[in-house]
Amino acid sequence: MIKLLLNRIVVLFITFIGITVITFVVINISPGKPQDMMDMSTRISFEAKQRLVKLYGLDKPLHIRYFNWFLRVIRLDFGTSFKDDKPVLKKISERLPATLLLNILSLGIIFFVGCTIGILSAMYQNKFFDKLTTIVVFLGYSIPRYWLAILCMIVFGIKLNWLPISGLRSVNWEYLPFVGKIWDILKHLILPVAISSFSGLAGLARYVRGSMIEQLNCEYIKFALSKGTQRKKVVFYHAFRNVLIPVVTILGLSLPDLIGGGFIFETIFAYPGMGRLGYEAIMARDYPLIMGIGTITAALTLLGNFIADIVYVYVDPRVRYK
């Protein structure tokens, strides 16, 4: 067990190095690389340029620059933003909680709703409910999420005027009572969370259904039934525990998609999260910020997968006691 853990940690570290290499290389060899950018920019004075060149060692060869950058990354120093000279880390950490809130809520919804739909349609296989959800799930899988976001904004925000369509707080948030504050935030969260969990949910429901049907055909289910165990218990206690194991990994793997989707609809909803920050950074070609966001998102995903891995080992005795 401990060996396994150590093993995973080493892998984690190697993968992290890989992530930094890719982030660095992608940005520094692509056609609009930082140096060119700075040459073109007129807003930056000559002195400032010199200062930046020195600071980032832009006159040094690639691998040395990478090494220096990596050393600073380990100390969580991503430099300062080109745009307003604020430290990158500070800018990110301002936005991170909102993104984490959004993603954890979405993950939770994906997990609970996806599993429920999947199990129910497996239990009532080929009945009306199953057929309906299969179609809905299939369409949900294909729908462009940002379009869905716009449609929802039109319907719920503009036509019906039920939900706010942008930001995380209303303008008068400061003056609301405590409960009102929470309610306000919740109202702002409904649309972004619903949209961001939508396709993940569809995918998971589809997976759970298939894998549940497979498990329900296993011999051990028959044996459990022959013991006089109630059907409900057989489904939720016996079969679902077996389905749950791969679901953990799937949730871990769906993290990058979730965060990646954030770049679009955080922008659409003007949601103050990292996705929007990233989009703005990319549009402004704010290299330190882009590299910072890239590294941190990937590292967060990595961490998520790592946790999924550990949970996997924990819930699957076949791995735990090898």
Binding site: K3, L4, N7, V10, V11
Partner: protein
């Protein structure tokens, strides 16, 4: 006095247990310890042992699918690993436990058989016409008592007995001198077992095969084999 066709000398085999990360060995699990025996021409040798005793590994070593850690296997006096691939194919063939898994589920039977028959001619360096191949195929189908209808089918469409026969045909068509049977009967019904045993005996007569017959069933081994060795925990107990 018959010649020894196969000699196994002091074969030891262990499986390394790898760490998942850098592919470094952590520990070893020994599956075969100092196995030594020999096999005469046109005889059937039974290898008897409970599941997990290493008998399948032994079969794989003799068939060159795996390498022994130490010791050597001589076929007609020469180390098996010194034979080129193609020569060896005509010497030793292995019939696996589950006839279904011997047949590629995505390829039809006719294709599989044709591929092997062509391979046979290729190994013997003869160029052949399609008609010769087809003649050979129908000849072989007759040997294993199968109707030509199976050629158009896919493995999942065959019955248990048919699959077994097709699997045998596939190893047969290279005319090996030694045929290793790895638990070929354990998945079959009693009446099919009888059919297969008779069939193996016929083949032995007809083609002068030698057999290595791997099984956990003492009854079967004693019925079919001329010689028996027992293996337990990777070691030979008795001969």
């Amino acid at each position: 006095m018959k010649n020894n066709i196969l000699e196994v000398r002091n074969v030891t085999k262990s499986y390394p247990v790898y760490s998942q990360l850098l592919h470094t060995k952590i520990t070893k699990k020994i599956v075969l310890k100092n196995i030594t025996f020999s096999l005469e021409e046109n005889t059937a040798l039974g290898v008897l042992g409970p599941s997990g005793c290493g008998k399948t590994t032994l079969a794989k070593i003799i068939a060159r699918i795996e390498q022994p850690d130490s010791g050597e296997v001589l076929f007609e006096g020469r180390n098996i690993f010194s034979y080129p691939n193609k020569t060896f194919a005509c010497m030793v063939q292995l019939l696996f436990q589950n006839p279904y898994s011997m047949l590629n589920p995505k390829l039809n039977i006719g294709f599989l058989i044709k591929e092997r028959v062509r391979q046979y001619f290729k190994l013997n360096n003869t160029k052949v016409e399609d008609s010769t191949v087809n003649k050979k195929i129908s000849e072989l189908l007759e040997t294993v008592k199968l109707s030509p209808d199976v050629l158009k089918m896919y493995p999942y469409q065959l019955s248990g007995g048919q699959r077994q026969r097709v699997a045998i045909l596939l190893v047969l068509c290279l005319y090996p001198k030694l045929l290793i049977l790895d638990e070929p009967l354990s998945a079959l019904d009693v009446s099919l077992q009888a059919q297969m045993l008779n069939f193996f005996a016929e083949l032995k007569q007809q083609f002068k095969f030698s057999y290595i017959f791997i099984t956990h069933d003492e009854n079967l081994a004693e019925y079919f084999c001329d010689q028996i060795i027992k293996i337990e925990n990777g070691e030979i107990l008795t001969k």
